[in-house]
Amino acid sequence: MAIENKDIYKLASYHRFQWEEAQNCYVILFPEGMVKLNGGAGEVLNLVDGVATVKIITDTLIKKFPDAPNIAKDIIGMIELALDKAWIEKIN
């Protein structure tokens, strides 16, 4: 599925996203499983809240990490991966 700027995503049902002090990373928890997210992936999913569009997420992260090259492409890639794994769902 092509990711568009106007798309809005939310965490999939029965999934929980939280910061973990002991692992020093964000995690996604769901029945029978968990995923530890690396820094970039965690930053993206932290903004997937059922309200922000992909455009808003991208703009927010470009502002937060002005020196990161190709960040927009990485953000789209992360959203694609999360969709493919069914961690998030499109709501519009």
Partner: protein, 394 residues
């Protein structure tokens, strides 16, 4: 530390217990022939940790990094304090899972669990037929399970069904999956019987044929293609029919911590079958010391403990030599390769077990159901004939 376990040194591997399994009681109204609980569970029904003990376990494990909590048994709902334990787990930030047969569930309790923050319920199902359900659990629980499944769905929990697969239900896989779909299951775990505890006692009677397993896997794959992401189906392969062992518990002391009903702190459910390993207990050891410093948790961490053929095997990282309990139970040596591996000099033990289970006379031998009386009998050595080929009481 003391001088237990011949002074095995501490691991240098950086590990964290991500999963905590609280086997909160070994009492259970069901009497399943394949139960993986220890056959001597009867000894541990009088000395269960109390509520405060479990609260302490939850806090300490969370501090160590545990995230996923399984509240299991026996039947956990036999304890009146599950609701309090769930509230504490939720406060601490666990993703909590109640693993139940459904016995003891009612409207009041499921509402209290929901408001306490329980994240999901894993319900065991046995078959599409009342006859097989009641036969293998030795109880009349078929209708109860249907009722509890509906209750789980109604309260908006993810519906996770666990079906242990054996000779008596393996040819019903298609119908079982369709039943799960009809109940609105989100996750289904088809767990082929692994032979520990009661299932090892009844191995000859429970084991299907390789052809049945292959057929069941094919049906499962076809079903997956049809339903897609709507329902996730896990097919836990039976290692006996494989050529390489499973990476048991994802490695000893790597990500799983189990606390047994009496407070024993274990790297896997059946670790206590291995002789000369003294496991720490919640009553005399903090979880942190148990995980990082106890000789028992360090004994099989990583691969320093391996002998040949594992030590020089190019595939050793894939399975870490398989299961230590299975290696001991079948071969008598916990440091040997899991006999499932075709490179193991003991593979003949698995091939013989497969052959024995196909002996047409085998079904004439009665199944030993998981009852308190049978547990006592086994502890007293009364099932000697069945158990003499194993190197410990499972």
């Amino acid at each position: 530390m003391d001088d237990r376990n011949n002074g095995v040194s501490a691991s240098t591997t950086a590990t964290q217990p991500l999963w905590l399994l609280a086997e909160i009681t070994y009492r259970c109204p069901l009497q399943c022939a394949f139960c993986y609980n220890p056959t001597d569970f009867d000894k541990h029904t009088q000395n269960e940790l109390d509520t405060d003990g479990w609260m302490k376990v939850l806090r300490e494990a969370r501090d160590l990094g545990a995230l996923q909590l399984g509240i299991s048994g026996g039947e956990p709902l036999l304890r009146p304090d599950i609701e309090d334990i769930v509230i504490e787990a939720h406060k601490l930030g666990y993703y909590s899972n109640l693993i139940t047969s459904g016995a003891g569930m009612n409207e009041k309790r499921i509402d209290a669990l929901k408001s306490g923050g329980l994240d999901h319920i894993q319900l065991s199902m046995h078959d599409i037929t009342e006859e097989i359900n009641n036969f293998i659990t030795n109880t009349k629980t078929f209708k109860l399970k249907q009722k509890v499944a509906a209750m789980i769905k109604d309260r908006g929990y993810p519906m996770v069904l666990n079906v242990v697969i054996h000779r008596y239900n393996i040819d019903h896989i298609k119908e079982i999956l369709e039943m799960a779909e009809g109940l609105g299951a989100d996750y289904v775990e088809l767990a082929n019987t692994q032979y520990y505890g009661w299932s090892l006692v009844n191995r000859d009677q429970l084991m299907p044929t390789k052809e049945q397993v292959l057929h069941a896997e094919k049906i499962t794959n076809e079903f997956r293609e049809r339903v897609g992401n709507k329902m996730k189906v896990f097919f836990v392969v039976p290692d006996y029919f494989d050529e390489r062992p499973k990476k048991c518990m994802n490695g000893w002391g790597e990500v799983f911590m189990i606390v047994a009903a009496n407070g024993d702190i274990l790297p896997c459910h059946s670790a206590r079958v291995i002789p000369n390993l003294k496991f720490p207990n919640v009553n005399d050891s903090p979880l942190k010391a148990a995980w990082y410093d106890s000789p028992a948790f360090n004994k099989f961490r990583g691969d320093d403990w391996m002998k040949e053929p594992c030590r020089s095997c190019s595939e050793k990282e894939n399975d870490l030599g398989g299961c230590r309990c299975q290696a001991f139970l079948l071969s008598g040596d916990a440091e040997s390769a899991d006999p499932v591996c075709t490179k193991s000099p003991n593979r003949n033990l698995i091939d013989q077990a497969i052959k024995d289970s196909q002996n047409p006379g085998i079904e004439a031998k009665p199944i030993v159901f998981r009852t308190n009386q049978n547990s006592k009998n086994i502890s007293e050595g009364k099932e000697k004939e069945r158990l003499e080929k194993f190197h410990a009481t499972p």
